[in-house]
Symmetry: C2
Subunit: 339 residues, 2 copies
């Protein structure tokens, strides 16, 4: 059971004895235990095998005593059953990208119990093996739409922007379908044991504030309003100029990248959210004195905000020195317990 409720307490606005800490992509390549498992199975196989997904989910908890677990999976897992051919090479590549109204038509919302049972089984397995809350997650509708339309990594996101501007009806229909899928997928994770869900809007930041408001925000709002029985954390990279809209979201937490000080973010957001972040993942490659200084700065910037969950400003990088991760987690715990 959840003996450590720190992160839930923060999200519920309660006073806590210290700042909780977890890391985006905390299960991953920087850990030798993880690399050992990946020698035997592909990335997608790992996502689809509940016992292994559970095992890698637990690895960082054992190593660093983090305050939350996060389901090991990938944001693209639910787009496959929508009708998209997905491969990791190792970067994701989609053989049949969505480019026109006919492509959108052919997509169908997922049925998580039928089509993604391995994810829900992984959630139950992990839940049976941890004493901290379990975070579920999904890509935000726009970010998933970007992958589906671009079909691979993109520098300028011309395909999705052109669909959006030249064929808004098809774009909106795509967003409706992805939003419904994402809702079902996250609600199923919650129903199987996740008490927090994080919605990753990795690519929202490619847009102008006016396009974000018209084409993206309404779907995030709809998703957040439909989900029940969990705390929601929305994380959009490079999104501070969208805060006028984002501050209207009905969710408990907001992830913040390292591009803004937490107190400045809180000001723009009328201090409405618990903020999660925001150490630059590259700082973990520096010496421990620098890491400590940066953590001190972040803790001090978070002093007067509604609530703080310590995290990186983006996913941990594959070659991060493990000893620095341990140092960071211990230092955050020690430093915020003093206060």
């Amino acid at each position: 059971m959840e003996n450590n409720r720190l992160i839930l307490d923060v999200l519920e606005g309660k006073d806590v004895e210290r700042t909780p800490v977890w890391l985006m992509r905390q299960a991953g390549r920087y850990m030798s235990e993880y690399r050992k498992i990946r020698e035997k199975v592909s990335f997608l196989e790992l996502c689809k095998t509940p016992e292994l997904a559970c095992e890698v989910t637990l690895q960082p908890l054992k190593a660093f005593k983090l305050d939350a677990a996060i389901l090991f999976s990938d944001i693209l897992v639910p787009i496959e059953p929508m009708g998209v051919d997905l491969e990791f090479t190792p970067a994701p590549v989609i053989a049949n990208p969505v480019r026109n109204p006919q492509d959108v038509q052919r997509l169908k919302p997922v049925d998580p119990e039928e089509e993604l049972p391995f994810v829900l089984e992984a959630v139950r397995l992990i839940k049976d093996n941890i004493e901290v809350p379990l975070i579920g997650f999904a890509g935000a509708p726009f970010t998933l739409a970007c992958y589906m339309v671009e079909g691979s990594g993109s520098k300028n996101f011309l395909e999705i922007k052109t669909l959006m501007h030249k064929n808004p009806d098809a774009f909106f229909e795509l967003m409706e379908k992805v939003t419904e899928s994402t809702y079902r997928y996250l609600q199923a994770q919650i129903n199987n044991g996740c008490s927090i869900v994080q919605v990753f809007d990795t690519w929202a930041g490619i847009l102008s504030p006016s396009d974000y408001k018209t084409f993206v925000y309404p779907f995030v709002e709809k998703l957040v309003n439909k989900l029940e029985n969990a705390h929601i954390i929305y994380f959009a990279k490079d999104s501070t100029t969208f805060y006028k809209d984002i501050k209207k979201l009905n969710c408990a937490g907001l992830g913040v990248d390292w591009k803004i000080a937490l107190n400045d973010a809180a000001d723009l957001l009328d201090n409405k959210f618990v903020l999660q972040g925001n150490l630059d993942p590259a700082v973990l490659f520096a010496d421990q004195k620098t890491i400590a200084d940066e953590i001190d700065r972040i803790i001090s910037e978070a002093k007067d905000i509604k609530g703080h969950i310590f995290n990186l400003g983006h996913g941990i990088l594959p070659k991060t020195p493990v000893e620095n991760v341990k140092f960071m987690v211990d230092y955050v715990k020690e430093k915020t317990a003093d206060a």
Copy 2:
């Protein structure tokens, strides 16, 4: 001679009859005239041959009657004589990246008259052939340092960030050398005929506001304060959370990407600068109705700012339809002359 002084008048705070317009990368691959020349010479050869650099600089002026010319070159041209082996493959690759104090030691500031005479000759040639002001340009010190240290394209900029955090003395020495080179290079462009210079800080946006303030801003400030006899436009992508520092810069203009509305940018900057921007280059792939709507929005957002130079929010993309570029330029001129 400069029969069309619109852009200079705006930068000098004078009232103008309409908004001036030019485009970042206005000479480039989207034009068939440019591609024809590139069939015969490599990119670096083109940069190093004054007659050809002049010819491609003039191409977009003839095609679209823009209000400024910008020297055809590349921000990496001046790093070669500093002691860096540069190739375009077509992306820039540096065979001997700067990684430690010894590498920094070996670099020397450029002597533009001796080492980059072809650039200054191109400036003089262009100047003799245009009736609009000529914009010179250079990479900002941090952006050039990023290329020199990373050695090639980078996703996470780990090398430069690690140098900065682990070896700040070497980092600062590198920045001093690059700042001095950039100063000499831009001042030589001015002395040979450029009446405006733009400083491109393409990579500043990878940093936290606190790192920008410590490691980047002081060098931009130094560069801007040293330059004489030209209007300076500073352009840093993804930099709105640095505006607290940037607004102290002693320059006339600031380039703005499409990630913030111009009126919101002006508010954060105490309306101190003429702003240049900020159409998303991807919008030029849409239909002309969408392009007109986006231009209308930008013109209306720019209504009360100190001064406006219409431009894209970043360089024009290689496959942009030429007819849409023509439509955009004509529409901006017509629309702002009405007002």
